[in-house]
Symmetry: C2
Subunit: 169 residues, 2 copies
DNA sequence: TACCGCATGTAAACGGTTACATGATTAC
DNA sequence: GTAATCATGTAACCGTTTACATGCGGTA
């Protein structure tokens, strides 16, 4: 992905500092990404270089100026171009699936504990998500939560199916 | 993740060359990872250094020797230790969710095409998966396919739900 | 003859995480 | 007084992708 377009998109709504962008992401996009300053600041610098952003310096007494970034027309162009092309297939490193596959050469009870642990974790994830879903303001945000929730539930169902399959044998 | 444990796990089944490992992954774990030689060979070198693998050189006429890697007892220990601890939460860069969120500041029809496109893509993914699921040998592999398929279906249901929600308004 | 499969790698670039460094202001 | 918040960044490291480099043997 690179956080380039996310930054562009957030700045298209309203001009902000890098710090603000971080907060926004933490508040509204926790389930989507987890970008740190180490990613965000260099991204801003690159976008500025390319002319996709402008920067406005706001001096503060006794410390370095605050830097407010604004999206440029060029930036808006790049953003809408990106939004219109299909999102790349999610490249996921599904560590759990690797583990599942590798239990092939291990005793059956290893497989069963792997599945049971995963079920507990998924259950916990669902509960945690439910808690965060209370203070959601806009539909876009609630759609994301709904999406993630759906995937969690699908995984739960799958886990139960597999466990049932095994215990029958 | 790092492909360290995957390599260890595959070599626990049978000794192989780096080339063989690549083929295995392509054949059986396409939905889980996509490791290239650029990842695999350095990983093998590191594991060898740490004593988790042994290497056996098999000379070939007229070209460099083939290198067959074997897992050591130390390697087996490391592998089972890893398998037993819970798999880290899948850190996913869900590009599609970023796009979904960013349609906030775009006209409604942009949102609708985004969803429609995604639906087409997901449908295509499901069909492609169905095709691959025919020549599956062992249950571990079929579980993985079932898992991925479940997630695809969950996404489809979600997409339809959201689209219905919007068209009502 | 031309291409595919076998088999080894390296190098550059990219994207991200973690930890570090700085320092004022505000709330408890 | 102490901790959190505001606000900037850099540097080292890690894992991965992509492209490149090499070259034999078998198949169409």
């Amino acid at each position: 992905m690179s956080h380039k377009h996310l930054v562009l998109g957030l700045l298209a709504e309203t001009p902000m500092t890098g710090y603000d962008i971080r907060k926004r992401i933490q508040e509204k996009l926790r389930d989507v990404t987890n970008a740190s300053y180490g990613t965000l600041y260099p991204t801003l610098h690159k976008l500025l270089d390319k002319g996709l952003l402008n920067m406005e310096e706001v001096p503060r007494k006794g410390r370095p100026a605050k830097k407010i970034y604004h999206i440029t027309d060029k930036g808006k162009g790049e953003l809408t171009r990106w939004l219109r092309k299909p999102a790349g297939a999610d490249r996921i490193k599904r560590e759990f699936l690797v583990k599942l596959y590798l239990t092939r050469h291990l005793p059956e009870n290893e497989l069963l504990t792997l599945l049971a642990n995963r079920r507990d974790e998924t259950e916990a994830n669902i509960k945690a998500l439910k808690r965060t879903s209370d203070d959601v303001e806009d539909r876009h945000q609630s759609w994301i939560i709904d999406y993630v929730m759906s995937l969690h539930h699908a995984e739960m169902d799958w886990l139960k199916r597999i466990e049932a399959q095994i215990s029958v044998i």
